[in-house]
Symmetry: C2
Subunit: 198 residues, 2 copies
Amino acid sequence: MAYTPSMTRLIQELSKLPGIGEKTAARLAFHILRADGGLADGLAAALKALKEQTRLCRTCHGLTEVDPCPICASGERAADVICVVEEPADLIAIERSRGFRGRYHVLQGALSPLDGVGPEDLQIGGLLQRLRGDTVREVILATNPTVEGEATALYLARLIKPLGVRVTRIAHGIPMGGDVEYADVVTLGRALDGRRDM
Amino acid sequence: MAYTPSMTRLIQELSKLPGIGEKTAARLAFHILRADGGLADGLAAALKALKEQTRLCRTCHGLTEVDPCPICASGERAADVICVVEEPADLIAIERSRGFRGRYHVLQGALSPLDGVGPEDLQIGGLLQRLRGDTVREVILATNPTVEGEATALYLARLIKPLGVRVTRIAHGIPMGGDVEYADVVTLGRALDGRRDM
């Protein structure tokens, strides 16, 4: 005898989450068991609601509960600039910075031949569609500064430039509050390349 | 705009779990969203099942889906020795060691006057009830070697000894695979006090 069957089941389900091993899952399961029933009920209901209510915007492929999403539908957001990101989480991070008032396009991933992710697996067709007509004047590529994200940015730049749309890439360099001494060589190189007149 | 309402709700619920802050909760929520629906469904169903099926054994107050629990009901477990632990998780840890073939009693906590936990908040009455009659010959106190666990063990020892039952405390010392050099002074003191002839 170890756990009860229902405890074992919850531990197994929790272990499927990223970064949660069996020990952590057991700790969480015991916490849920000790807490009054509201915690288990609240979590179960929230999981159900997420699955039923959250979907992807058909225009930008970001998360939304209404289609088109509030950003695509908003008249207050600049329609002439589209910021391209890999994942919905990236969109949310940029929104939090309050540094961007245009619209988004979520690729739902990045090119990764080793993982079998090619252009046809990303939301690239929809992006090109949005660039037809004369509305969009700039596409900001905000994919991650990883091998995959850089390859995706290069691929998109080659595809979009011939359409006569300005293509920009977000800046990379020493993070604010970071330390030049401890920055890695690639980041330092990027910071030097991207230097600006003061 | 940040998350969708249902994402925000799931993140809030996940943040209630111990050791899970808002950032981790968001990461988990995005993972659940990206995974096929089975993960959310499986978790929600497991939470529901845990709440409906797992309860406490009325004899030992350990977790069970049947009352009395399999250990209390088993004829193969020694009925003359009871191991007293603080939490159901402690019972499971001892079961895993395969070092004990008697029965258990789960106190559901430890004495902690600062947190307002007194003897009446623990499952002590039920334990004393089980010691009436002549069946039980030994009570092993396996509460944690913390201030609260030690106080609880002392309190129980004073209560049980007058009943003519042998009261023992699990050994404390250098953990197996541990290093004498790095052991803390309290553990080292305990290890010396508890030395045995070889």
